[in-house]
């Protein structure tokens, strides 16, 4: 009787897949380093530059805080209004994109395609584009954030609408209710908590990204960031970064609290 000794295949015995992946990654690293002009020498030669900058940042110019308080508030205001506008517009679109509400697959596909196109564009890129259209100022920031929030909230939201309990919806449809009546009575009560939660989450992201929008001229604290960095005024840059850090932390905390209460 011939006894079969279990043998690993060649591929598994010599870890061919793992080695192949490693080699591919190493080649990619090599060419990426070549393309991006990685210069390790320059990095270490100038490493003290970074230290110098950090050193200057160690002594923040605190009185400057009073000067930037206004624009910091404006950054928050931009985020609040932008997120709200985006959320309001997103609401009808998320219903149109939800599979269990609208049964027309072609219309749904088109709306989803538009939404994913909007989400593909980074916020700063949108800001650069809208500065060209609407000019410099906080209006542009609001529109940019509204645009981004629209894509984001609509997506989060149609995903959620598709998971709701369809029992009340079918019951209402059986009694002959119109589409709007069904949504108002059977759908909205089920989703309002999640909607607020998604809204807060987007607001949180927007506060973070609105801090740099001003760099491109879209209003808010970013403008001061640009000025102080251009003038190598690092003690002031430090104040701005610390202020942004504090505001983002506070907003994070509030939004986490509100989200927990809503769920």
């Amino acid at each position: 009787m011939k006894q079969e000794v279990p043998q690993l295949s060649f591929v598994r015995r010599f870890h061919v897949v793992g080695i192949a992946i490693t080699v591919v990654i190493l080649i990619l690293i090599y060419y990426s380093a070549l393309i991006t002009g990685v210069d390790v020498n320059a990095f270490f030669e100038n490493a003290d530059q970074f230290g110098v900058v950090l050193n200057q940042m160690k002594h923040p110019d605190w009185p400057y805080l009073t000067k930037i308080a206004g624009t910091l508030a404006q950054t928050l205001q931009m985020a609040i209004i932008g997120t709200t506008i985006g959320a309001i517009i997103a609401l009808p679109f998320s219903f149109l994109a939800a599979r269990n509400i609208v049964r027309n697959p072609i219309g749904r596909l088109i709306i989803r395609l538009i939404l994913s196109l909007i989400r593909t564009l980074p916020t700063l890129l949108l800001a650069a584009l809208f500065v060209a259209i609407f000019g410099i100022g906080p209006m542009t920031g609001v529109i940019t954030l509204a645009f981004f929030s629209f894509g984001m909230i609509a997506k989060l939201f149609y995903d959620f609408i598709e998971t709701i309990d369809m029992g009340p919806v079918r019951a209402l449809q059986a009694t002959g209710a119109t589409m709007l009546q069904t949504i108002r009575i059977a759908v909205i009560p089920q989703i309002s908590g999640q909607f607020m939660s998604d809204f807060m989450y987007t607001l949180e992201i927007n506060v973070r990204s609105s801090t740099v929008l001003g760099y491109l001229g879209a209003g808010g604290i970013g403008l001061y960031l640009q000025q102080t960095l251009d003038q190598f005024d690092y003690p002031r840059t430090a104040v701005i970064i610390l202020a942004i850090f504090a505001v983002v932390l506070v907003i994070d905390a509030i939004s986490n609290y509100v989200r927990k209460r809503l769920q």
């Binding site: 990426s32 970074f50 205001q77 980074p122 890129l125 060209a132 259209i133 609407f134 960031l225």
Partner: protein
């Protein structure tokens, strides 16, 4: 909360919240000067639309190294290198930040978490500007910016993976008398490696987006020609660049999520 009986206090609370929200909105609307839409807005947006519909196809590839494909490749290279750097940097920080005991206060973990939060607080654009001061404008500054910025997010995700990991393999190796290094190499690393790879890929998707905007501040990649096209109001070029970015992001997202699904 009792839903059948609402006390006077609860009703009052509702009103307070409503007033607070109204106040916040009034404050916000007051703070934004609604300058209205610029006179040129409609003509400019029409021009942009026209540019997007009629992109400058000759810009896609012309072999000069300044064309769309080469710039997109540079953008991908920045994102790739930055993600690799941060994946390596964030592993030790993640082990520092992971809370492995149930104690209420955990000084080592708290220090690690504070470091990671502080790194996340610096927007990548700010980091890019700082690195430009250090190594000069160009892609290298972009790589460093993404490499440092991503540590904040990857470290957080990694440390959560470490907190949740199955420790039975570790216990087995320790029981068999394995040293700390052996335990790490044979039990800890193989257990969490799939999760680390999956998160790194996910971060790569985000880094591609970040890398495409770093050029706006001079840190290389597709953002630089995009900014230039916007400033010179070259809308057909803007159109093709936008098209290129959208396409690149969609392709990368699809590839990466397919691989991530297979990693589990």
């Amino acid at each position: 909360m009792n839903k059948t009986k609402t006390t006077a206090l609860e009703r009052f609370k509702w009103i307070v919240v409503a007033l607070l929200v109204i106040f916040i909105y009034l404050w916000s609307i007051n703070g934004i000067p609604f300058t209205g839409i610029q006179k040129s807005a409609s003509s400019v947006s029409m021009a942009i639309l026209k540019g997007i519909i009629h992109p400058e196809w000759s810009y896609v590839y012309n072999g000069s190294g300044e064309d769309l494909v080469s710039q997109l490749v540079i953008t991908l290279a920045i994102a790739f290198l930055g993600t690799i750097i941060s994946a390596f940097l964030s592993v030790p920080l993640a082990f520092l930040a992971a809370q492995t005991t149930k104690k209420f206060f955990h000084p080592r973990s708290t220090i690690g978490k504070v470091i990671l939060t502080a790194i996340r607080a610096f927007p990548e654009v700010v980091l890019a500007i700082l690195f430009i001061k250090m190594v000069g404008p160009g892609s290298f500054a972009g790589v460093l910016a993404i490499g440092v910025h991503s540590v904040g997010m990857l470290g957080k995700l990694f440390s959560e993976a470490i907190e949740e990991m199955d420790r039975s393999a570790e216990t087995a190796i320790i029981a068999a008398g394995g040293s700390k290094i052996q335990t790490f190499r044979i039990a800890t690393l193989p257990t969490i490696l799939p999760a680390l790879m999956s998160y790194t890929l996910y971060r790569f998707e985000i880094s591609v987006r970040s890398a495409s905007i770093l050029g706006l501040v001079g840190a290389g990649g597709i953002g630089t020609p995009m900014m230039f096209a916007l400033q010179t109001r070259d809308w057909s070029k803007t159109g093709i660049i936008l098209l290129g970015i959208v396409l690149m992001v969609i392709v990368i997202d699809t590839c990466s999520s397919t691989i991530r699904k297979r990693l589990g």
